[in-house]
Symmetry: C2
Subunit: 403 residues, 2 copies
């Protein structure tokens, strides 16, 4: 009886959703070439479609909800989601219990897997749209790590000016992804290169290099696989209280992908500090035309990458002059008020989050200003713990640094 | 009755295959981080696995054959393929009639879709394994095309020497993918950057730049969508007889992914010639330190890209000094014997194919040598019309050029 009522309620809900669907669906910009589905309409609903003639149940799994799809006489299943936020979302299909990528979408690394992603058109998408402006490049690079004793892999954005001015040296931003993501995220989902080329062409940002590396696979060669690498690892000077989780916000901060302990299984949340300082920065400063001083070095990251940024910049206060923390909690004034080196070195401390998160970035920035830090906050309108928040955060942060 | 016999035959075949399976399966190198399946054993059989509790039929679809998988009591399906050739293969899963990517693998663009790929260990895999040698980089670049009046997208390999010698200029190879593939293929499946870094470090190849662009989406801005763009397009000088299909080989040449007409639907098989000559080469010679003359310019491609190479280099005989055609058929001596400019300009003409293809490259090279062309042939042992053939072809070709 209970089940019947529930089913009836679901059926009613489905009817009521369908009654409101505006039939102006268009293929998503994140689709594979020539693929019609998935589509998005002006209500920001996602419509998926897949041929599965022998299946008994197919669902569209997006935003934490599984939406039933409906089979037609040809065995083709179609279904819509509720309206989604503007910007990028990971999703998948579920076919008779198997969770699989949608063959219509391009694939992205997030939620600890390569899988489907979809971009919902946004009012401000112009800032991350490819335009005929001077183009930099995103360079795929392998390098040897003395810490992990393995070859590692990263992406390096070089602005057009790097190529055009062969004698000039440039500042560098080290930019980190979130939990369950990797070094491909900032370029693919984040659209880093496109955002920067547009900003620089518009004169809103100065040209700088951006290094996007993997913040999770930094397990030192001398650390056994089973041992958690969480904490500051072998570097004792970084033991700030509370590091490794977002701070300073109201309850509920951090959103759905906020790390819940257990970083160690990935080979080191803060083991990354060692790789960054001993391998990545030296490699970049050796191989590229870089102004290798504190005032021309920035670090930022999203979610877990923001937390890494906080702990690494606090533990190494004279290494980076610009610091950005996107959806990673906040810096607390009480932790920085006596941090003389940090306060003397830091030129910009930027904290952001989505409007649907509640991380207290505005209040935190006020508190930090009160102790003499040049703090900024930014809240991305109507977005959650997702890439649209972070694209916008990069867009804001990039305009503040190296000026 | 017929069906029962067929099912019995299949069951027997399955038993007979299983009886021979060597249980030394290991996760494929092309798997997503942390994913155990798919696996490969020493017999080069692929074992796939997926949880699909409600499914009634799950198949592993590889090498043109769909292998039935078997469900266990937890709803997890497992199954093996017959032994595969060494090297890279596209594949997919089929769940109750739906063809989908395997959530365990990384994804590659081929067969006109982003989907699963698997690398079967090869005796010679050392040449495409990442090593701690001086590393070049593969650069993702957008640029404006005057032909298509759109932004285009390509990848450019720069050797380590490009970075290390900031005043030096370098030769360039323009390297094209096959039908159903795109500009990502040579770097991802082909492992171009890794092969080149290893070759250069070993002193077997001179450092040169490689440009990998899209040979299929080159439809000119003034050509309507519906109109086939096949043939030489607006450039009349290139009308060699028989262009656009492999020539000179025995029956059966070309393998399973050999293009079968209809290039036009993709916006121009040879419309690409215009984009190459008017957009790509000028962009590369403007933005990179390039020796911009015939003797330092090469073109090569695989399958359709090899055919494009043949037609473009024959139509523009003084543009490229080095020419490579991998699994794309052959150049015919009768077409080149009176081609004075081509013969005077060409320094190496390389033709290759897989040992399981039959493209007559050895005979063709002999015929070309007889008319005074410095022709080379290469047959990749025990491989078909697939990426292992082309990795090996690049490895061979790269050692012959710009010397």
């Amino acid at each position: 009886m209970k089940q019947t009522l529930l089913l009836a309620a679901i059926a009613l809900a489905a009817v009521s959703v369908n009654a409101q669907v505006v039939e102006d669906f268009k293929p998503a910009t994140t689709n594979q070439e020539g693929k019609q589905y998935p589509m998005v309409n002006s209500q920001r609903m996602v419509r998926a479609q897949i041929s599965a003639p022998e299946a008994t149940s197919v669902k569209l799994d997006i935003g934490g909800v599984k939406y039933d799809m409906v089979k037609d006489e040809n065995g083709v299943w179609t279904g819509e989601s509720a309206p989604q936020d503007e910007g990028f979302h990971y999703y998948q299909l579920n076919i008779d219990g198997a969770s699989v990528p949608d063959p219509g979408s391009k694939y992205y690394y997030g939620a600890s897997r390569w899988g489907s992603g979809i971009d919902i058109p946004a009012a401000d998408e112009d800032f991350y749209t490819v335009k005929n402006v001077p183009q930099g490049s995103v360079n795929e690079v392998y390098y040897y790590s003395t810490v992990t004793e393995k070859m590692r892999h990263c992406y390096i954005y070089l602005p057009a000016a790097y190529r055009e001015n062969p004698d000039k040296k440039f500042p560098v931003l080290y930019l980190q992804h979130g939990m369950g993501e990797n070094e491909t995220g900032w370029s693919a989902q984040g659209k880093t290169g496109i955002i920067m080329d547009n900003l620089i062409a518009a004169g809103k940002a100065v040209p700088f290099i951006i290094v996007m590396d993997n913040g999770l696979n930094a397990r030192p060669a001398n650390m056994p696989e089973g041992q958690p690498a969480f904490g500051m690892g072998p570097r004792p000077q970084g033991g700030q209280p509370g590091q490794g989780r977002p701070q300073g916000g109201a309850p509920g901060q951090g959103g759905q992908r906020r790390p819940r302990g257990g970083f160690g299984g990935f080979g080191g949340f803060n083991a990354f500090q060692d790789v960054l300082l001993k391998d990545i920065i030296p490699m970049v400063e050796k191989n590229y035309r870089v102004i290798a001083d504190t005032e021309h070095r920035a670090m930022a990251g999203l979610s877990m990458g923001g937390m890494q940024t906080r702990s690494i910049t606090m533990a190494n206060p004279t290494t980076f002059a610009y610091v950005g923390m996107f959806s990673g909690g906040t810096f607390r004034a009480e932790d920085l008020k006596d941090a003389a080196d940090f306060k003397k070195t830091n030129k910009v401390l930027f904290m952001s989050c989505g409007g649907k998160e509640n991380m207290g970035v505005d209040k935190a920035a006020e508190d930090l200003k009160a102790i003499g830090i040049n703090a900024y906050s930014y809240v991305s309108p109507e977005t959650a713990h997702e890439w649209q928040t972070w694209r916008r955060s990069l867009y804001q942060f990039a305009q503040l640094i190296f000026k």
